[in-house]
């Protein structure tokens, strides 16, 4: 996609972008709260030991639970996840922001990294 297509037109929706606003923050509260808990190493361990139980404890919605189970980042965002909190979940799986970028754009990690380098 060209940069002009990625920017879009003033006043119109921003291509490929969801603003994390009040509506998203309400919808995503449980998921983001769970991810925020991952600041503590013990909570990361607890999630790894019993993912189902840990998600249940934070009362994830069925859509949030499904997105987490499927490691579906766009699904998590659609369910109200905010990327700063989701990054803590990604860290548990050893994924960095290039891995997460690749997952969201449908590119391989190598292709995503190359796309970043190509903007130099």
């Amino acid at each position: 996609m060209t940069i002009a297509a990625m920017i879009g037109k003033p006043g119109k929706p921003i291509p490929g972008t969801t603003l994390f606003d009040g509506e998203a923050a309400r919808k995503g509260y449980a998921l983001n709260a769970m991810c925020y808990s991952f600041n503590e190493a013990a909570n990361r361990q607890a999630f790894l030991a019993d993912e189902e139980g840990y998600c249940a404890r934070y009362r994830l919605t069925p859509g949030q639970r499904r997105a987490v189970a499927e490691r579906d980042v766009l699904g998590m965002i659609a369910a109200g996840g905010n990327i700063y909190y989701l990054a803590k979940l990604a860290g548990i799986f050893g994924l960095n922001v290039q891995d997460v970028g690749a997952m969201q754009t449908g590119m391989s990690v190598a292709a995503f990294k190359q796309m970043l380098l190509d903007q130099a």
Partner: protein
């Protein structure tokens, strides 16, 4: 009289911390970014600031969505970093300057800004990495800090105009402060980047260049766009440029650029570093 010696701006991408930790500054991938710093070190050695008034955003270490302040001013004796979820080494703590923090808070509220005040506040990579970059290898920081947080996470965000005005109010506070401190203003984050959505990986050199070109002499030009249009141009996380805009306000009415470095990419981000002096 306290003196505002200048302003230092830089990106704060977490992986910069990793590169520092591994000693990877001279790797071909990282060198173009770290090459922007010898000039910063020289300048800081010359200016010898002993206080830093900083503008940055929290990334889910100190603030969660249960209570999300639009503007927050730290007024603590000390600020600690902590595990941000990735189990990385914890950064060196910072000493605060609570008397100056309260003086800034008084001015902000008198000017009809109404910040949250924090006598306890964790600081995340948004502050620690710019400090690591500025004073590499220091076992304690040469500056005490007055940290000011801006919400760049949960919309609605404060407008660019509001952030510039906030910075200008902070400048008024510094002007009336009776101490003898040498104060550096620090703005962190950006420039263009987007971590989330189908547009992940988006950067925008043209918009970043516009921001850097206008920052010193024409900062009001950066307030022409709504938050929505800034996100369009800079990316969902590139909106951290709000920290730069507020910091520019705190520097004072006129300024000149003395240093600039810009490199795409560091991680998913357009890395940028600038120094401005009062003019």
């Amino acid at each position: 009289m306290a003196e505002v010696v200048g302003a230092y701006f830089t990106s704060h991408v977490p992986s910069i911390g990793g590169a520092i930790h591994r000693g990877a500054q001279d790797d071909p991938y990282w060198k173009p970014f770290f090459d922007g710093f010898p000039r910063v070190h020289e300048w800081l050695a010359e200016m010898k600031p002993d206080v830093a008034v900083t503008f940055s955003n929290d990334h889910g270490l100190n603030f969660f969505l249960d209570k999300m302040p639009t503007f927050a001013v730290g007024a603590a004796e000390e600020y600690h970093n902590a595990d941000e979820g990735w189990g990385l080494p914890v950064y060196t703590s910072m000493k605060g300057h609570p008397a100056l923090s309260w003086h800034v808070i008084e001015q902000l509220v008198a000017d009809e800004f109404d910040p949250v005040t924090c006598q306890e506040m964790l600081v995340d990579h948004a502050l620690s990495i710019p400090f690591e970059l500025a004073w590499p290898g220091a076992d304690q920081w040469p500056v005490r800090v007055v940290p000011i947080g801006i919400n760049t996470v949960q919309h609605p965000l404060p407008s660019a105009r509001r952030c510039l005005a906030l910075g200008r109010s902070v400048h008024r506070a510094l002007q009336s402060w009776q101490g003898a401190e040498r104060i550096v203003i620090i703005g962190t984050g950006g420039l263009s980047h987007q971590l989330d959505g189908e547009r992940a990986g988006f950067m925008n050199r043209e918009y970043d260049t516009f921001c850097m070109d206008k920052l010193a002499a024409e900062p009001d030009a950066l307030t022409r766009d709504s938050i929505h249009e800034i996100v369009r141009q800079a990316g969902t996380q590139g909106v951290e440029v709000l920290n730069w805009i507020a910091a520019r306000g705190a520097l004072g009415p006129s300024a000149r650029e003395i240093h600039r470095n810009y490199h795409i990419p560091i991680s998913n981000t357009a890395g940028a570093t600038m120094l401005l002096e009062p003019a």
